[in-house]
């Protein structure tokens, strides 16, 4: 009787509490998470989260673990801007290998696309593991474009513009023609921030250039015969 009376006195507080619990469950997405946990096993959930060959490539690395025995912790390189996937295969009782043997989301010829934004070309996305800017492609809506300008590639560091590369371009530009640079650098392997391309004395409003593409060389190259196991863009090499 006493308990009943106490409950009646506090019924509005109990309703508030019930409401809060319900809102909390919705906020933490409990019902959906519980359903997916119940319907997928641990490995499936890990692959859903970390990808088979993509993102951290958990599925690919687990396949390697099942198929091969590693005497040393392999160095795993990932072309995506995410932390290294070392944690998937890490064995604390082993030393690390000297050279990388596993390449995830590998791009043989990485490239960085720049699009026109406020009278400059701004990079879209990032590249990793490059060691040379091989050449530059300029995409034009027309067949040909005559340029006699300087192209400047830069980046902001602590709000200060740092020029990375500049080159005078003189001639006819077409979709199929690339401008050779062969500029050895690893400065483009940036995890954040954008690079900028400016062209001296160029009228951006005419929209004569759709995009500019920087083509790089991957620091790590291997042949078909070096590959021990691969799936899509993930490789385990000798």
């Amino acid at each position: 009787m006493l308990k009943k009376n106490k409950f009646k006195q506090n019924v509005s507080l109990y309703l508030i509490l019930f409401f809060l619990i319900f809102v909390s469950l919705i906020k933490i997405d409990f019902f959906r998470q519980f359903y997916f946990m119940y319907t997928n096993n641990y490995d499936q959930r890990m692959i859903n989260k970390y990808g088979y060959c993509g993102k951290d490539s958990y599925g690919f690395l687990m396949d390697l673990k099942k198929k091969y025995s590693f005497n040393k912790n392999p160095i795993i390189l990932n072309s995506k801007v995410i932390p290294l996937s070392t944690w998937v295969l890490y064995d604390s009782n082993k030393e690390f290998d000297k050279y990388p043997k596993i390449f995830l989301n590998y791009q043989k010829n990485p490239s960085l696309v720049f699009k026109n934004y406020n009278n400059q070309f701004v990079s879209q996305g990032h590249v990793q593991l490059t060691d040379m800017l091989k050449d530059i492609t300029i995409n034009t809506p027309n067949k040909e474009l005559i340029l006699d300008n300087k192209i400047i590639i830069s980046k902001f560091h602590n709000k200060k513009k740092m020029i990375i590369f500049e080159k005078k371009i003189n001639g006819v530009i077409s979709k199929t023609k690339t401008i050779s640079t062969n500029f050895k650098t690893d400065v483009f392997n940036s995890r954040w921030g954008n690079f900028l391309i400016e062209i001296d004395d160029f009228d951006y409003n005419k929209n004569e250039i759709i995009s500019i593409i920087l083509n790089f060389r991957n620091k790590y190259n291997f042949n078909e015969e070096d590959i021990i196991f691969s799936k899509e863009n993930c490789f385990y090499v000798k």
Binding site: L17, V23, F30, D56, P83, L84, K159
Partner: protein
Amino acid sequence: MIETFLIFFQILFIGLLIFYSIPSSIIQVTFNSSSLNLLMINLIIFMNILLIYSFFAIGNIYLFFVLFFSSLYLFMKSNKKKYFHFKIEYLLIYFYIFSISIVIANQLELGWDAKFFWFLKTISFYQNNNLFDLGKLPATDYPHLGSYIWSFFWKFPFDKFEYLGRIFYVFFYVVSIFYFCETFKTNKLNKIIFASLIILITYNYELFSGNQEVLIFCLVLFSTKIVFEILTKKIKNPKFAVILLLLSFNSAIWIKNEGLFLIGFMLFLILILGNLNLTEKRIICFGSILAIMIRLIIFKFQNSGLESFEFEKTLNLEFFENIIVNLKTIFFYSTVYILSLPAILLGLILMFVNLYLFKVDKVQIFIISYAILNIFFILAAFLLSVENVEWQVRVGLKRVMFESSSFYLLTSAYLFNKLKE
């Protein structure tokens, strides 16, 4: 289904192991003997036991057996009626821990820093390596206690999934929030509502993605309550409270480097404002210096350079050239992040409301002083970043602000209690 059972029993295991493995008789004498208080105090002591054990190269299976059998013995001996009568708050604590643990078990995703540093340390401990084997991993100057606890509960009792270890983080988070709500002078039901509100405004999956900020958040919350009780003279024996503060400080400096400052500031302020006697002041001074010395000595033994503190790289001409630009960046992002951290936003608003409504007392001086020290710490930490300041601020500032956000909850407890008076 198996995973649901494992989660269900893992929570029970963590709770019972922490609650019963440490004799509560000493604590009961000096503190309010509610089970929640005992659990929280035991949790801080438990973390320190694990910390001390981690310094020795002895397999943690022995520690597990000692803790397990001592908790079994003390459980048998205990007055079960006293602790085990049904209480809605215990049910809710369990319910919140269980719900969040289910989310962790499905999400599974580790944070950037967790993948890069913390989880590698966890794997190393899980594979029976000790503190001195961490030298080959990145960020050797990053402390290890959070990873050690993660590996301990990953291995014990089920040794199945890594996320079972992270349930400890959820446990600590929920229990510390309910513990803090004991500060409010009101009935149980209102306290539970306050706790639910705090969970609602602070919860985010990223807290449990293996990053360590949530542990500092909980330790700051615990220390804030203790300091508040010392300042308002609610504690019978301030000496024991001071020791608990030191244990919390000791845990914090072995979880994240920021812990040194975030709880260190509280120790410093309690020295000035706390009306402590000479012995208690000595305990704080010697205890904190000893804790810092032990950490430095062990780092020396680990041969780890302080790679996160490269002042020669940051204190140069460029630092002074960029100081205004960097300050602007930090202030801009701080404002943005305050808006996304309701605990700080609300806390700062209530801090000014309290100043307007009530006469300035020691608690208010403590809140304002801590807030100022906290702001200076954030400015210094980010201005002296080795990496590009803007990048550091974008990726790290919100997490650092979150760690101390629990402190600002004190303003709401202060206002509530004052209005009740």
